[in-house]
Symmetry: C2
Subunit: 520 residues, 2 copies
């Protein structure tokens, strides 16, 4: 190893100027307010997402970056104008619910008695034949709540970060894609069957407690419109209905004004570049997904990552940096439906892989494929590093090296100045379920940051609580300073970051497809 | 001390029969479901409270108890038919809010631009003169959220219970009644001033985060109707409005259909007795307040206590017990407005105290008076014990002896069989803010149970989450078994429980009036 000083590719003065710009003239909080409060939740291809796409491009341009959009085929937009549900009898009561994404509106208020018909798989449907006509159907099991003894809000201590630094090879889990296929099949067939039986609307129970709702839905392709409106109800309200239904009739009213938007079925990734000195040296990249779910304002998931990426771009532009390699900033779309935007980037610039031979998987995002051989494209060698932000708004505590062992000491040296900001740990562990995995799976030096969890996993992820108040502004500033510095180090280093091997068989690290042995 | 066996006033077989009846033929969960799901939130004198009063009397009667109601002067009922609020611009968004209790309805939907006019005291009002006409006014400071690092759901371990067993004498805090007076004055004057300025409605910020709303209000006397409707909004939604208002106009729509009910301004305590063998031996008593706030279903506060008291009555009736002393079961009303029902019981049966010489306090519930001498009534000596339940639905872990040191070993002996149920600790510490304090303040042997906190303090107390799902059914069964046994022990013991001295000066233990030194 070289000495720490020799490893620093950026001069010390520049690091301090980045911190000064981020902390003393920072704009990340203003960006977060505009994106979450003013624009709000940004479902892929929704009008709000279109507004966010325009706004973020205009911001990048105002800072002097080269901006472009890359289109990819996605599907329809969808948005909520207003939505209410209430119990009409045995007593009047406002209920907390949200329309399920990409399901249709009610035609004005729909009021009807409920039937509790919990469905766990397609085989369960037949037993409800002839019993659902004119009813609103509650289709989830009203599983009772569990004692949740953990803290709702959490920061990591060193011991907890240390535990992350224990690499174990995930093992392939062929059940994962099969489970997803069954889930999608059940969702379609459930709606179709209930509609054929004459039901009026479907109600699902939230998978969280404490009044949280999500509204996640899956059928975003034009032509996939479900026949019946679906709403997701807070668990407390759902279970109350289910208990009351055991003692007598329960009448529910749903008024769900939602709209499809099929004007443009393309999704758009936004790419903004700071040019490098050496056109042959390739580029380094930071990315976060700009799209969100619909229940909140898409603040922690992933407004936070998006505005930190934007602020890093602003800081580096303000400093007029001229690194060896270009620096590219990406705001992805379609992440929540299966990393569709980042997958499109990979397929267009980095590498192709064979289409899945499974006819169902073949129609699903390539995130769910695990096919070989990987066929690198000419741009494969241009990507010198990718850093992803998508773990909420907690401050950066370090970097997941994602199984790229050789990169560990280099990344540690780059983080060395940030000890006092709590961000100096590099651990080998792999992470999944967000945009870097499409690159990590190719052996590229693509990483995600370790972040303090805050209340992201406990109550904010995809819920109505994903609003500005669940961000921590000091943490956003810290993350922007660190991201800007690490990007500049990667862009200006003499040697590019080590790459991982190009996989030729299932060895990838995404816990979606590969079972993490510590969970066995 | 006598041996443990000699201290038991109830034979061992009866204790086991109580446990068998409570655990194996228990009705407490059915009672809880009916009270919370079917009847729901029960503001004092509301139609739902009237329904609960009728239902609970009919249940006591069905178990063979002597039932009566005691009327006391309270004020008006109030209830919510339906209520919505939404942001109209800069973007459409459903907001989470609740009408403030005992404020009037909007006259249909009211839509207007907002003004953020945070008011901390009456002096703040003048600066808003001429700026509020035709506006919806946000009157709370949008204080930012704090990191909440504690567990949302909690059970006590022995060490934590041990810490409770450290008696310290509270010291009198003359600021407490003054603070309440200023708070009430501000509430009235705020509404009056804003109405005179031509404002259309007031919005307050919830004192909790994570979407919780409470809807607590204070002006329940006929003739005290505030001029303007008030709503309490979830903190996340309120702060979003306040941030957006800094950048441009924000339009809000409120549609609040609420109703006053002045048909009967009496509140009613429900008293149900199991007669004793010896009419001169007096009675022992258990109580819980049946009234609640309006945001949830009044489950943990205090449906839980109410149904445990009812179930203890059912169990003891089912066993046809014939104790020396009578056993009285009380369901109080008006607790949430200042222990008004239990205070009425005290003033009618137990003791008088001089009316406060402060003209404002004199009109407030006697809970806020601290006047001497206490003048015992003939019934003073009849009350041999009082046990209160009002700490949520967590299981009983022991008893607060409330500064009655001599009672500690007796209560410990009575709890001795319940070690394996986790309920064997007796601690000297005083507790406040619920119905036993009106008796403890007289030196009577009145106690509250130690209970596992669960999520009561963190998120359920007075909020929209106070629903059946936040009860724990196993804990309710345990509490009913323990309450029934302790009551029977107290009713059948040769010697009554030791009394405390009759105070002749401020020495009482209620933390509302008396500052707990550990908080200094």
């Amino acid at each position: 190893m070289n000495s720490a000083h020799a490893q620093m590719s950026v001069d010390a003065n520049t690091i301090n100027r980045i911190a000064d710009e981020g902390y003393n003239r920072g704009q990340v909080v203003n960006l977060a307010e505009y994106l979450t409060d003013r624009i709000g939740g940004r479902m892929t291809n929704s009008p709000a997402m279109r507004e966010a796409e325009k706004w973020s491009q205009s911001m990048f341009r105002s800072w002097g970056l080269d901006v472009r959009t890359d289109a990819f085929e996605f599907g329809r937009g969808w948005w909520i104008e207003s939505a209410h549900s209430r119990m009409v009898s045995p007593r009047p009561l406002e209920l907390h619910s949200i329309p399920v994404a990409w399901t249709p509106a009610t035609k004005g208020p729909v009021a009807a008695d409920i039937v509790v018909a919990p469905i766990r798989n397609v085989r369960d449907l037949a037993s409800w034949k002839g019993k659902l006509k004119g009813k609103i159907v509650l289709v989830s099991y009203p599983e009772p709540p569990k004692d949740d003894l953990g803290p709702a809000f959490k920061r990591l201590d060193d011991a907890e970060i240390g535990k992350l630094n224990a690499y174990r090879q995930p093992s392939y889990d062929p059940e994962r894609p099969e489970m997803l296929k069954r889930y999608l099949e059940l969702g379609k067939e459930l709606n179709r069957y209930m509609a054929a039986e004459g039901a009026l609307a479907l109600v699902k129970m939230s998978r969280g407690n404490n009044g949280l709702v999500h509204g996640e839905g899956r059928f975003y392709k034009v032509g996939e419109t479900p026949a019946l409106p679906e709403i997701e109800m807070a668990a407390e309200d759902y279970r109350r209905l289910a208990r009351l239904a055991k003692t007598g009739p329960v009448k529910l009213e749903i008024d769900s004004r939602v709209h499809f938007d099929d004007r443009d079925t393309n999704g758009y990734n936004i790419l903004a570049d700071i040019p490098g000195r050496d056109p042959k040296a390739g580029y380094v990249m930071a990315g976060a997904h700009l799209d969100s779910w619909v229940a909140g304002d898409g603040a922690a998931d992933n407004g936070a990552g998006s505005v930190v990426v934007m602020e890093a771009a602003r800081i580096l532009s303000a400093l007029h940096v001229k690194p060896k390699r270009a620096i590219r900033f990406a705001l992805w779309s379609g992440e929540e439906q299966g990393l569709i935007g980042s997958s499109a980037y990979v397929a267009h610039y980095l590498a192709k892989r064979p289409v899945s031979t499974d006819p169902v998987l073949a129609k699903m995002p390539s995130y769910y494929w695990d096919t070989y051989p990987i066929m690198p494209l000419p741009g494969f060698n241009d990507m010198a590093a990718y850093f992803n932000l998508d773990n909420g708004s907690g401050k950066i505590r370090g970097i997941y090296a994602e199984g790229n062992f050789a990169a560990v000491p280099v990344l540690r040296n780059w983080l060395a100045p940030f000890d006092s900001l709590g961000a100096s740990k590099v651990v080998a562990a792999p992470t999944g379920s967000t945009d870097h995995v499409m690159m990590t799976r190719l052996g590229l030096p693509a990483f995600q940051f370790i972040q303090d969890p805050l209340d992201y996993g406990s109550q904010v992820h995809h819920t109505n609580l994903d609003t500005f108040d669940h961000l921590r502004t000091e943490d956003l500033r810290q993350a922007a300073v660190i991201l800007a510095t690490v990007l500049l180090q990667a862009a200006d280093s003499d040697q590019p970051l080590p790459r991982n091997v190009l996989p030729s068989q299932p060895t990838a690290t995404d816990p979606f497809l590969y079972r993490d042995p510590k969970n066995d």
